[in-house]
Symmetry: C2
Subunit: 163 residues, 2 copies
DNA sequence: GCCAATTGCTTGAAGCCTAAAGAAATTCGG
DNA sequence: CCGAATTTCTTTAGGCTTCAAGCAATTGGC
């Protein structure tokens, strides 16, 4: 009894399995991400971060603030600033200062931006389908379930640390 | 019969499920990666790429060539060059030109590098264990299996494109 | 109304990353 | 043995990313 308590904190336990799982998860993501990245470049001469940002905005017809984008994309504020800058420059994004709060920048897709994104998104979806082509419907559902559980567990772990 | 053939190529099929799965996979990885990154910075003032590189070298006592590292880490050659440069500079890595092929650089951990890595790796393993803490042993095995399948499927898809 | 804390965003320094081009060494076909 | 192709690594330009510091606007306590 006392043992089981001390053990968790003191003794070096074997977590090689979790480690291997994490590495495999990372490998899968890196593999797919790299694939998507080079296809986006080849077909549309666009970078993955730009695509991701446009994807967020496509889901928000009324626009988003930079903070919203930053949270959704899980990247830093400064990162978003530069990304938006380049996309405004290229005519894909429209940027306005909020009427009610002059600190806030509201961005949304321009007509051009939306049109281009839709084209890219359609192909993108088929690439992703191809990536998972060998998984059965049951595999897909099961993987979804386990990743949901993983996400929850990871979030809990992160909040434990911040506490 | 003809239908099933045309359909796969022509008709816009619904692959929303695969798309959601990919986004969830990406979210999990980003979450965990961010967590590991900030912990490495806090505790050891080291970056994730440096840690990853040292992890590769820890598994290869006789050293590795830069190309080996590049393939293993799935990053570009130029990336490795810079990374190695900084780690040699900080005394963690040792770099020598191969005796048999003057193009080849062989790198390995120094005593300092190995000692520091071992300390980091021990903590790292416990962080990862914590991330997956809510998954049962069965979950872990099942997730491992499905990710193996995903990896194989993704590799197949990537090679189809390059073909 | 005022001042402190917070929030939203930008800036700057450093590092990471890729693609593409190029330099140097090796390998291989003939 | 020669030259073409390949391999290994570096360099360059451009972009992505973080952290930390800082500025401007708003909010909330008093």
């Amino acid at each position: 009894m006392l043992d089981s308590e001390t053990k968790a904190v003191e003794l070096p336990e074997d977590h090689a399995e979790e480690l291997r799982l994490w590495l495999r998860l990372l490998t899968c993501t890196t593999l797919i991400e790299g694939e998507v990245r080079s296809r986006l470049r080849e077909r549309f001469d666009v970078t993955l971060p730009r695509f991701d940002l446009m994807a967020q905005l496509d889901k928000a017809p009324d626009g988003m603030t930079l903070s919203d984008v930053s949270k959704r994309m899980m990247v830093s504020n400064g990162n978003v600033t530069g990304l938006v800058e380049r996309l405004v420059e290229s005519g894909h994004l429209d940027r306005r200062t909020s009427d009610t709060d002059r600190r806030v920048q509201v961005i949304r897709l321009t007509k051009l931006g939306r049109a281009e994104f839709r084209k890219m998104a359609a192909e993108h979806e088929s690439w992703i389908a191809d990536v998972f082509a060998d998984l059965t419907p049951k595999d897909l559902r099961e993987l979804m379930r386990l990743l949901a559980k993983t996400k929850a567990s990871a979030q809990k772990s992160a909040s434990r640390r911040r506490a």
